[in-house]
Symmetry: C2
Subunit: 235 residues, 2 copies
């Protein structure tokens, strides 16, 4: 019996949105002429690395959750010191909220609207619920549901997160495809029986960034963007 694909789960930061360009542009705007000499792309790379380090160290549960917003806010304070940048509390708050104003990649809105015509589409993000809601509303991303790590009390790639999404959708993992530009994310889902789609995002860390965009037959689908994914899934 052929198993029918019913739902797609999407990573948000990096896969659906271009955080590097967005946060660099916001940092340049807020830093202004005072700090035009700063290597903002490098700064954003460091900021993102601090986020990954904090998530790896985190041992949260549903009742003692540390928001990703506070992770970014705390990491920013340290980084600004390292770079010798003096921003006011309001400027720091504004810059931290740049992570809730991420711009989608150019193919995302059109691709999601095509995919939503055939499948249930939802996020499965490590970002906070509020961040995903704010990003999605601003960019008109047509999710049928927002699922995040915060709802599971664990961060991807913890199996708890993927299993939560399947339980909430009332579907088997084999009826759901995890879509991400990060191989660790779709590999973790694949190990639990989810189908997998890799989407290449060569500019995730800006021009010249070090990104693995190689297609791999281990994944059910390899796509260049969300429009290509829609083509391959018959939407």
């Amino acid at each position: 019996m052929r198993i029918v694909l019913r739902a797609l789960l999407f990573d948000v930061q990096g896969t659906a949105t271009d955080f590097h360009s967005t946060v660099c542009a916001e940092a340049r705007r807020i830093g202004g002429t005072r700090y035009r000499h700063i290597d903002w792309p490098g700064f954003v790379d460091h900021w993102r690395a601090e986020y990954f380090a904090a998530l790896r160290k985190a041992e949260p549960d549903r009742d003692s959750w540390v928001t990703v917003h506070s992770v970014y806010a705390n990491a920013l304070d340290g980084l600004l010191g390292d770079y010798g940048i003096d921003l006011s509390p309001d400027e720091r708050a504004d810059l931290t909220l740049a992570w809730q104003r991420l711009e989608p990649w150019p193919d995302v809105v059109a691709g999601l609207n095509r995919l939503a015509s055939k499948f249930t589409i939802a996020t499965l993000s490590n970002a906070d619920v509020a961040a995903v809601v704010n990003i999605s509303k601003r960019a008109a991303l047509p999710w049928d549901a927002v699922f995040t790590a915060e709802m599971a009390g664990a961060f991807k790639p913890d199996p708890t997160v993927y299993r939560m999404a399947a339980r909430y959708l009332g579907l088997e993992p084999s009826e759901i495809m995890m879509v991400a530009s990060h191989k660790y994310d779709i590999q973790a889902a694949g190990a639990l029986g989810f189908r997998t789609a890799f989407v290449a995002r060569p500019l995730e860390f800006g021009a010249g960034g070090d990104v693995d965009v190689s297609f791999d037959d281990d994944f059910d689908v390899n796509a260049t963007d969300f429009l290509d994914l829609a083509d391959q899934l018959g939407c």
Copy 2:
């Protein structure tokens, strides 16, 4: 300082959707000519009453959750026996899933689209996530997020459910309005500091049904439907 309203939370079964008409029509379709003598409106009232009784008795938590789908399925088996109705397993499954195909009231899609232009709009339903997602996708309800009791491990009017939604939205209760046609629901939210909107749904239990539709100055807004709510909130 005037507190700005940022988000609206909506009850789904009864407030946004006309479960009585939908489930009656599905029961008539599935029962067919064999059971055209059955008082289907009365049957649906009994079915809904069994749901409320089961929820009142439930003492769930997030790790031992009983889905509303299974509550409806179990209640149906008993009711069919009481009414002397013999449906096949497939027909029972189809009829139980009628609760995931609820039609919105005629004002809901237009009203929500107006409200979504100014506010974050989300569900706060006792129905299962899968049910709310399926209803909403079928009816094109433009939620920014789907929140349900299942995510909180408790049913409304337990304070846990309302507090979960505020935490996920990253907002204070005073920045959020609970919208429902059931006074116990908005009173519970109001007691926690949420703003309240009562929407009258005189046909919730069909023509001649016993429904409290009286406006009350204790609520921040009293509205005849979602279009009136949008008018009153300046959308």
